[in-house]
Subunit: 460 residues, 2 copies
C-alpha cells in the first residue's frame, strides 16, 4: 500500500481558477483584430489539413472501429461522406488534421494547436449552431489555453516523453467548447479538471497511426469534459497546479506565470505557424533550401548532381537521420529523402511522402548521394547546402530562416496554395475552392456548420 | 523547439511483446482452479458494486452528458433502466462500480482491478456473445496484465500522483477485450500501445466524481484500444518499455521482471481482495475494531462512551484525518466519522456515508469524543482502540489484521452479504438474489450477457 500524504502547496497561485475565469469572461471584442486574424488563419489551415488527410488509412481504420458505436450522425467527417455523432466526429477530424504531419505549430512548444480545439468546436457546432464570430472567439480562447499550459511545462514535459499536442491539447478542447456553450466559472474549472485527468499521449507512438490519434482523443475528451461539467459532473477546481495535478505530475518544470501572466495582452495564439511541408519541422530548412536550389539550377543541372552536403542543426540528424526509408512514415523521418525529393521534384507536400515516391528509383538514387553533418552553431530554422555537379562545379544555398518559421510566416496566398493542393486530391477542385472561400468567410457566417457541410464532395 | 533524441534502450526486454503473446495464447485450462475461483469472486464483487453505485448522482450526470452520443443501445447500465452502446456502457459501469469506494483492491499497488476490466468485457459481451468460461479467462488475463504493469512501476508511479486504477487499468481492459475477441499477437501489441497512449488519471481528483471517472474511461479506452487494433489501427509494439513509453515516462521506477517473470505460474490476479467497508482501505482496521467493540459492549454501553483513543498507522491520519466532515465524500476521508458510525451503528457499508449520517447529531457528538494518534510501529492492517466509559471503565481492542486484508479475506458468505446489502437498496430483493445467483454461476453460462440483463429491476 503506497498512500502518501500530499505535499504542501503554499505559494502556488490559483492557476486553474484564474484561467477558467478569463475564458468564461472573454468577449470577442477583447481579442485584437490581428489575433483574430491569426485565429482565422489557424482555422483555414486546419480545414485544409483535415480534408487533405481525410482519405488516409488511419481514418478508415478509426471509422471501422468507432462508427458502429456512433450516436445520431449529425456531424461531418470533413472531406468524407461519413457522418458521426459530435464526439466521434471530433475524434476522427482530429486524426485526419494531423495524420499528414502538415498542420499548424506553436513553435515555442511544438504543440499543434488547431487539431484538439477546432475538431471539438466544429463537430459540436453542427448540432448546437453558433455564429462564426462566436466560434472564432472560442477557438482563440482554446488555443490560448493549451499553448499557455504547454509553455508552463516546456520543455521538460515534452522531453520526458509526452506528446504535448495530446497532453496540453485536451485543455484547449475543453476550454474552447466550454466557452462556446457558455459554461460558468465553476463548470469551466471542472472542465479543466476533467481534461487534466484525461491528459495523455506518448512520444513513443511517433511513426505510427497512434500519433495522430492523440489530437483526436484530445478533441473528443476536451469536448466531453466541457459537456460533463455542464451536466454537473464535478472535478478538482485546481487540477493544473495542485501537488497531484497536471503540471506537477506530468512535468519536472512548472512556470505558473506562463499560464496566468498577461492574459488578454500577451497572445500565444497569435504566434501560431503553419507547416509549408508535410513532415517534422526540423527538416523544413533543408527542404526549403533544396527547393530554392532546384529553382535556381533547373531540372537539367539537378540531373547532374554528384553529391550534396547538408550542414544542419544537430536535432535534424537525431530525429530524422533515417538513411533508407521504405514507407511514407519513414520518409518523413529521413532528411535524405526529403532533400532528394525537394531537389528532384520541388515537392514537400504530402505527395512527396507516398510509399511510391519513397521507393522511386530516381529519388532513392539521389538520396544515396546526400551527406549530412551537424553544426552546433546552426539555428534550428537554418541550413547550409552545397551541391556538387558532375562537372565539378559547386552551388551553395544558405537558408537563414526557413519558410514557415516565425520570421518567415506563410502568406495568405501560400496558405491558399497549401489548402488547395492537398484538398483537391481528396475532394476535387470544385469542392475545394468553395470550401476554402467559406472557411475564410468564417466571421460572417451565421452557422459555422456550413463549413463542415461544404467539405464533402456530395454536398459541394 | 524541444525535440530531443531517444535514449539508448539496450538491455530492456521486449516486455510488451512477451505480455501480448502470453495473453493471446492463454487458454482457460492454463489457469489453476483456485485462480479462476478468485476471478469469479472478483466478478461477483464487481457486479454487486456496480449495482450498488448505480443510483449515485455521478452516474446521473455522466448519463446526461454521454447518452445523447450513444450508438445503438445494446448494452446494459447495470442496475438501471438505461441502455447504451458498449463503449458508453463500459464507461458508466466503470464509474458506478467504483463510486462508493467499495470495490476490490490489489493490495500491493492499491489498484482496483475489476472496474477497468469487467466493465469493458461485459458491455461488449452483450453484443458479441461469449460463454462464461471464456469470459472468465479474459477477465483473469486482464487483471493479471494490469496488476503486473502496476507492480512494475509501484510505488513510485502512484507516489508521483497517478491514480493507478486509471493508468494501469486501461491496459487490463485492452488485454481482456483483446483476449475475448481473439486478437492476434501483433494486434494485441497495438492494443497495449493504444492503451498506453490513453493511460491517464490524477490523484488530485480524489474527493470528486472524477475519481470514479478513471476506471470508467480505463474500461472504455481499453475496450476501444482492442477494437481499434482489430480494425488495423497500428501503434507502437513496445509501448510499455520503450524510452518514451509508459513505464519510463510515467514512473521513476521500472521493474520489467514484475511484468514478465513467472507468467502462468505467479498469479497476481489471485491476490485480489474485496473491501468490507465503503471507504479507503487505510481506515478499515479502525472500523473493524470499532464494530467488534460495539458487539462486545452492546448498544447501552456504547451510549455511555466518554472518550475513544485510536492508535493507528501514520497513513491513516495523513489520508483520513478530516475532523469535521460535512458530506458523503468527506466522511470517507474521516477516520473519526468512520469510527463513530462503526461504534454507534455497526456500519461501514455505503449506508454509513450518506450526507444525512455524516451530519447526524449522535454521530457528530461521538465523533467529537474520538482522538487518534499515530504509531509508526503499527502495521497498516492493524489498530489499537481504547474506549473509556463515563463510569471510568476502559475497554480495549487490538486488531492484528483487519477483515479484508490479505490475511483475513472476505469469505464467500461475507461477499454475499456485501453484495446483497448494497444491491437491494438499488434494485430490491428479488432482482438482487437472482442476480447474485447468476453471477456466481458465471462459468456455466453460455451467454454472459444474461448477468447484465438480470441486473435490471424491470427485467429481473
Amino acid at each position: 500500500m503506497n498512500l502518501h500524504h500530499q505535499e504542501a502547496d503554499l505559494g502556488i497561485p490559483n492557476v486553474t481558477a484564474t484561467l477558467a475565469d478569463w475564458v468564461v469572461n472573454l468577449q470577442g471584442a477583447d481579442i485584437p483584430p490581428e489575433v483574430r486574424r491569426e485565429g482565422l488563419r489557424t482555422f483555414v489551415n486546419w480545414v485544409g489539413c483535415a480534408v487533405g488527410g481525410a482519405d488516409h488509412e488511419a481514418a478508415d481504420h478509426a471509422l471501422k472501429a468507432f462508427a458502429p458505436f456512433s450516436g445520431p450522425k449529425v456531424s461531418t467527417v470533413l472531406g468524407r461522406e461519413d457522418m458521426l455523432d459530435p464526439a466521434h466526429a471530433a475524434l476522427v477530424n482530429g486524426i485526419t488534421s494531423h495524420v499528414l504531419d502538415y498542420d499548424d505549430t506553436h513553435l515555442k512548444t511544438i504543440l499543434h494547436p488547431a487539431g484538439p480545439v477546432a475538431s471539438a468546436l466544429l463537430a459540436l457546432a453542427e448540432t448546437r449552431p453558433v455564429s462564426g464570430a462566436d466560434f472564432l472567439t472560442a477557438l482563440v480562447a482554446g488555443v490560448e489555453v493549451e499553448c499557455r499550459i504547454a509553455n508552463s511545462v516546456s520543455p521538460e514535459h515534452y522531453d520526458r516523453g509526452w506528446h504535448i499536442t495530446g497532453t496540453a491539447g485536451v485543455f484547449g478542447g475543453a476550454a474552447a467548447v466550454g466557452r462556446m456553450i457558455g459554461l460558468n466559472a465553476q463548470q469551466m474549472r471542472w472542465a479543466l479538471g476533467l481534461a487534466a485527468s484525461q491528459s495523455s499521449g506518448l512520444r513513443e507512438m511517433f511513426g505510427t497511426m497512434t500519433k495522430s490519434f492523440h489530437p483526436g482523443i484530445a478533441a473528443r475528451n476536451g469536448l466531453m469534459s466541457a459537456l460533463l461539467a455542464e451536466a454537473g459532473f464535478d472535478s478538482s477546481e485546481r487540477a493544473i497546479e495542485a501537488p497531484r495535478g497536471f503540471a506537477q505530475v506530468m512535468s519536472d518544470k512548472q512556470d505558473w506565470g506562463e499560464i496566468i501572466d498577461g492574459l488578454g495582452t500577451r497572445w500565444e495564439s497569435a504566434t501560431n505557424s503553419y507547416k509549408p511541408f508535410a513532415c517534422g519541422i526540423v527538416i523544413h530548412p533543408a527542404i526549403d533550401g533544396c527547393i530554392q536550389l532546384r529553382d535556381e539550377l533547373g531540372e537539367d543541372k539537378v540531373a547532374q548532381i554528384a553529391s550534396v552536403k547538408l550542414r544542419t542543426h544537430p536535432l535534424v540528424l537525431e530525429l530524422t537521420g533515417r538513411k533508407s526509408p521504405k514507407t511514407e512514415l519513414e520518409g518523413k523521418f529521413s532528411v535524405y529523402h526529403c532533400a532528394s525529393v525537394a531537389l528532384l521534384r520541388g515537392d514537400g507536400a504530402p505527395t512527396a511522402f507516398t510509399d511510391e515516391i519513397v521507393n522511386d528509383p530516381q529519388v532513392v538514387a539521389l538520396r544515396g548521394l546526400i551527406e549530412a553533418e551537424t553544426n552546433p552553431d546552426c539555428h534550428e530554422a537554418s541550413v547550409d547546402i552545397e551541391v556538387t555537379l558532375r562537372d565539378g562545379s559547386t552551388h551553395t544555398k544558405h537558408v537563414e530562416r526557413a519558410i514557415g518559421s516565425a520570421e518567415v510566416p506563410l502568406t495568405d496566398a501560400q496558405l491558399n496554395t497549401k489548402f488547395t493542393d492537398q484538398a483537391e486530391l481528396v475532394v476535387g477542385t470544385t469542392v475545394t475552392q468553395r470550401l476554402r472561400d467559406i472557411a475564410w468567410s468564417l466571421e460572417s457566417l451565421s452557422d459555422v456548420g456550413e463549413v463542415a457541410r461544404a467539405s464533402v464532395r456530395g454536398k459541394g
